[in-house]
C-alpha cells in the first residue's frame, strides 16, 4: 500500500515543477502519450468557456481557450469538440459567438478541426442561426471540415424540418462516429412540444430516433461517442439532457441509454456542471447502462455537487474546481482517455474567477479507456479483482488476487467504484508470445474536492502534480504460446510479463511498479508472493507478475 495518504500528498506536496513553472511564468505543455501503433490518432474534448467579467472579450474565456488550443496542438489532435456554453452571454445578434469562433483559428491553422455544440448560454433561435454561419463545418461545409465526413442531422417532423441542420449533427473521422445533440431553441424559435408543454427541456426527446439511427448505422468495428451540453444525471444541475429534472421524459431517456448500450457507446460526454465527474448511468429498470463524462470547467465558474440522485448513478471519479481537457487516443478497437487539469490559479476550491489564470500547468490526472474487443468489470470498495478475466485469440488474461482497497468517495460521500476494462491488440512486437492486453481502471480513484464545513480544506494551487497511477497490489497472469519460447528462455527470467512504458517501449512489468522487490520465480504464482515477484509457469504456459498499476501487458522476451 502507499506510504503517504494521497490527500496529504496533495495538501503538503507540490512545490516542485509546478511551483517552478508558476514562479517563472512559462506555459507548460503536457507530454504526449506515445501512440501504441502507427494507426493510432487523437482528438480532444473541452467544455464550457463562458466568462462573466470584462477581463475577457465577448464574455468568452479566450485565455483559457488559447491555453487549451496549445495543448490540443501539442498532443497532435485531429479535431476538438466543445460541449456547449461557448460564451456567457450571446449579445445582440449573438455577436459574442464570433469571439468564440475566432478563438478557434489557432486550431484551424494547425490543421485541427473544431466541432462545437450550443449550451444554455447561447440557447436562442438567434444563436442557432448564428451558430450555423460561424461553424459551417457542422454541416460538412466550408474550409474547416478537416477530413470529417458523412455529416448528418435530424430531419424534424415540424414546419422547420431542417432546423437542426448543423446544430445536432453526426460525422465520422477514421473509425469514430461523433453524435452531437443540440437541445436548445431551434431556428424557427420553437421547441419540441409534449402535450401542451413547449420547452427546450424537451428538445432531446424527438431526436432519440435519429440518435439511434446514427449509432446503429455505424460500422461494427467503429467507435461512437455522444456529446451534449447537459448531462444524463447532473451533479450541481438537476436540469438534464432529457428535461428539467432527473425523472423527466423517462421513456425517451431510457430509450436513449438503451440505444447507446446496444450500439456499443461507452461514453456520453457533457458539460454544464463545470467539474470532472465520471459515472455509470442506468435506465430506470437497470437493463441498460452507459458511462457518463461530465467535463471539467473551461470557464470562470466551478460548481459543487448537490444532492438529488435518483439512484441510477454509480460514481466513478470526481475532481472539482479545476480547469481541464480530454485527449482521446484511438488505436483500432482500443480507446485511451487522458484527463488533464490545471489549477484555476487561486487557492484551491470553489471560486468565480474575475481574471483568468496567468499560468496553466496541466497534469495528467487520470487515464481510462475501453476496447471494442474487451470487457468491463465494476469493482466496488472491498471487492476482489479476480472476476477480471478475458480471452482473445488464444491469449487469456486473469487477475489472480487483490482487492479494491480504495476508500475514496465523491463530494456527496458516495463510494467511488472502479471500472476495470480489458482490451486486445494482436500487433505483437518482436519476441512476443501473446497478444497485447490493455488493462484500464486499476489505479486508485481520482477524488479531489474539499468541504471546509467538514474540515476538508486544501490550500495552494491544485492540482500540483500528475495523479499517481498506483493502485492496489494484484497478481496478473497472461497465457502465452509456448511454441514461441525456448525452454532455456523460461528459466533465465528473461521471458515474462512485460509492460509498456508511457514512451512506448516494453520493459519487465514489475519494473514499473511503485515499490516492491524484483524477484523471479520459475513456477506458478503463489499467494505468498509479494509486490515485484514475477515468473513463468511452463505447466500452464502462463506468465504472471505481482504489480500495482495498469497499462498494456504482453508475454515476451525481457
Amino acid at each position: 500500500m502507499k506510504s503517504i495518504n494521497r490527500r496529504d500528498f496533495l495538501k503538503y506536496g507540490g512545490a516542485g515543477l509546478a511551483g517552478l513553472a508558476v514562479a517563472m511564468h512559462f506555459p507548460m505543455l503536457t507530454p504526449r502519450r506515445a501512440l501504441a501503433s502507427a494507426g493510432a490518432w487523437k482528438f480532444g474534448v473541452m467544455s464550457d468557456t463562458q466568462w462573466s467579467s470584462a477581463t475577457e472579450p465577448g464574455t468568452c474565456a479566450v485565455s483559457i481557450i488559447n491555453a487549451l488550443n496549445a495543448q490540443f496542438i501539442q498532443h497532435g489532435c485531429k479535431y476538438v469538440i466543445q460541449v456547449g456554453d461557448l460564451v456567457n452571454s450571446e449579445g445582440t445578434g449573438a455577436i459574442n459567438l464570433e469571439t468564440r469562433a475566432n478563438a478557434a483559428n489557432a486550431l484551424y491553422s494547425a490543421g485541427i478541426g473544431f466541432f462545437p455544440l450550443r449550451g444554455n448560454h447561447e440557447a436562442s433561435a438567434t444563436a442557432a442561426i448564428k451558430f450555423k454561419t460561424l461553424w459551417p463545418q457542422a454541416q460538412g461545409a466550408g474550409s474547416n471540415v478537416f477530413g470529417a465526413q458523412n455529416f448528418n442531422s435530424p430531419v424534424l417532423a415540424t414546419n422547420d424540418p431542417n432546423g437542426l441542420n448543423g446544430l445536432s449533427y453526426s460525422f465520422d473521422i477514421e473509425n469514430v462516429r461523433c453524435v452531437l445533440i443540440d437541445q436548445f431553441t431551434r431556428t424557427d424559435n420553437k421547441n419540441f412540444v409534449i402535450g401542451t408543454y413547449s420547452s427546450n427541456n424537451n428538445n432531446a426527446v424527438d431526436q432519440v430516433p435519429w440518435i439511434d439511427s446514427m449509432l446503429s448505422s455505424k460500422p461494427a468495428d467503429s467507435h461512437a461517442f455522444v456529446f451534449s451540453h447537459k448531462n444524463m444525471i447532473g451533479q450541481n444541475h438537476k436540469d438534464v439532457l432529457f428535461g428539467s429534472n432527473l425523472t423527466a421524459n423517462a421513456n425517451a431517456r431510457n430509450q436513449f441509454i438503451t440505444s447507446l448500450q446496444n450500439n456499443g457507446v461507452r461514453y456520453q460526454l457533457g458539460g454544464h456542471d463545470h467539474m470532472h465527474h465520471r459515472s455509470m448511468v442506468k435506465t430506470n429498470d437497470g437493463s441498460a447502462e452507459v458511462g457518463q463524462i461530465i467535463c471539467a470547467s473551461n470557464s470562470y465558474k466551478f460548481y459543487i455537487p448537490a444532492t438529488g440522485d435518483d439512484g441510477r448513478e454509480t460514481p466513478l471519479q470526481q475532481e472539482l474546481a479545476t480547469i481541464g481537457y480530454y485527449i482521446f487516443t484511438i488505436d483500432g478497437p482500443r480507446v485511451w482517455v487522458d484527463f488533464y487539469s490545471s489549477s484555476h490559479g487561486s487557492d484551491y476550491g470553489d471560486i468565480d474567477l474575475v481574471t483568468p489564470p496567468g499560468v496553466f500547468n496541466f497534469y495528467l490526472r487520470e487515464t481510462f479507456g475501453y476496447s471494442l474487443n474487451g470487457k468491463e468489470f465494476q469493482v466496488a470498495h472491498g471487492a476482489p479483482y479476480n472476476d477480471v478475466q478475458d480471452s482473445f485469440e488464444g491469449t487469456t488474461v486473469k487477475i489472480l488476487s487483490g482487492t479494491n482497497g480504495n476508500t475514496e468517495t465523491d463530494y456527496l460521500g458516495r463510494n467511488l467504484v472502479k471500472t476495470v476494462n480489458t482490451g486486445w491488440s494482436s500487433d505483437q512486437p518482436e519476441g512476443a508470445a501473446s497478444n497485447v492486453v490493455s488493462l484500464w481502471g486499476m489505479a486508485d480513484n481520482l477524488s479531489l474536492w474539499e468541504k471546509p464545513s467538514s474540515g476538508i480544506d486544501y490550500s495552494g494551487l491544485l492540482p500540483n502534480a500528475a495523479e499517481s497511477k498506483q493502485g492496489d497490489t494484484y497478481a496478473l497472469s497472461l497465457k502465452y504460446d509456448p511454441r514461441k519460447v525456448r525452454p532455456s528462455q523460461l528459466i533465465s527470467g528473461k521471458f515474462g510479463m512485460a509492460a509498456r512504458e508511457l514512451g512506448g517501449s516494453w520493459v519487465n512489468a514489475v519494473d514499473l511498479n511503485f515499490g516492491g522487490s524484483k524477484t523471479f520465480k520459475y513456477g506458478p504464482w503463489r499467494s505468498t508472493y509479494g509486490l515485484g515477484t514475477y515468473g513463468v509457469d511452463p505447466s500452464t504456459s502462463t506468465v504472471w507478475a505481482v504489480v500495482n498499476r495498469d497499462g498494456d501487458f504482453i508475454a515476451k522476451a525481457l
Binding site: 514461441k484 523460461l490 505447466s539
Partner: protein, 208 residues
C-alpha cells in the same frame, strides 16, 4: 595353409566382436563452457558415433530446432555439461550414426531449473525405443524438481535399439552421461561367419 586361414578368420571375428561391443558414455564435455551463458548447439550432436537429433520444426514457433547447454555458472548447471532440447515439447532422437543397433543402459537426468517446495514436483520423462525388429518399448522416469542429478537405468528391453526418442517436458529437463553400446552380434554368428570365410578361402586355394 588351410589351418592358418581358418585361424585368421576366427581371430578377426573375435577382435571385431570385442571392438563393436565397447560401451561408451556420452558426456557432452566437448560442449563445456565455464560461463553464465546458455549456448545453442544446433539441431544435432554427434559423439563417438552416437547421434542426437532434435526433430522439432519451426512451424508455428519461428524457432529452429536446437540443443542447448548451460554454462557452469548458470543456475541449474548440473555439475557437468548436459544437453537440453531447447524447443517446446521438442523430440530428441538418439541413434547410431552408422545406422546400427545399440543398447541403452542408463541416462542421467536433471531438471533444467531446480525449484523449492512446493514447486519442485517431479516431471515425467517418457523414453520410447524402436527395436531392430520394428517393435517398440517404453520406459518412464520421474525427474525431481530439486537440485542434483538422477541416474536412471533402462531395462534389458532397451537393447537392440534402432533409435530411442523422448520429449522435452514443460518443466524442462537436461540429460547427460548416456550409457550406450552397440548391440553385440552373438558369438555363434561370428563363429559361423568366420568359419564360412575360412572355408571360402580354402575352396579358392583348392581351386587354384
Amino acid at each position: 595353409m588351410k589351418t592358418a586361414l581358418v585361424a585368421l578368420s576366427l581371430m578377426a571375428g573375435i577382435m571385431a566382436v570385442s571392438a563393436e561391443s565397447h560401451a561408451y558414455i556420452v558426456d557432452f564435455e566437448s560442449l563445456a563452457h565455464a560461463d553464465d551463458a546458455i549456448v545453442s548447439h544446433g539441431a544435432s550432436y554427434l559423439e563417438n558415433g552416437y547421434l542426437f537429433t532434435n526433430t522439432a520444426t519451426e512451424e508455428g514457433s519461428g524457432f529452429a530446432p536446437s540443443f542447448s547447454t548451460l554454462g557452469s555458472q548458470v543456475y541449474g548447471y548440473s555439475g557437468s555439461t548436459a544437453l537440453a532440447n531447447d524447443n517446446y515439447l521438442g523430440q530428441t532422437v538418439l541413434a547410431r550414426a552408422s545406422g546400427g543397433t545399440f543398447n541403452l543402459s542408463s541416462i542421467t537426468l536433471a531438471t533444467l531449473y531446480p525449484m523449492d517446495a512446493p514447486d519442485n514436483t517431479p516431471t515425467s520423462v517418457i523414453f520410447n525405443g524402436t527395436l531392430a525388429n520394428g517393435a517398440t518399448v517404453s520406459q518412464t522416469f520421474s525427474v525431481n524438481g530439486t537440485p542434483g542429478t538422477q541416474v536412471f537405468s533402462f531395462g534389458s528391453d532397451f537393447n537392440n535399439l534402432v533409435s530411442a526418442k523422448w520429449e522435452q517436458t514443460p518443466y524442462a529437463h537436461q540429460f547427460d552421461n548416456v550409457d550406450v553400446a552397440p548391440t553385440p552380434i552373438p558369438a555363434a554368428a561370428w563363429l559361423l561367419g568366420s568359419g564360412l570365410l575360412g572355408l571360402v578361402g580354402v575352396r579358392r586355394r583348392t581351386g587354384e
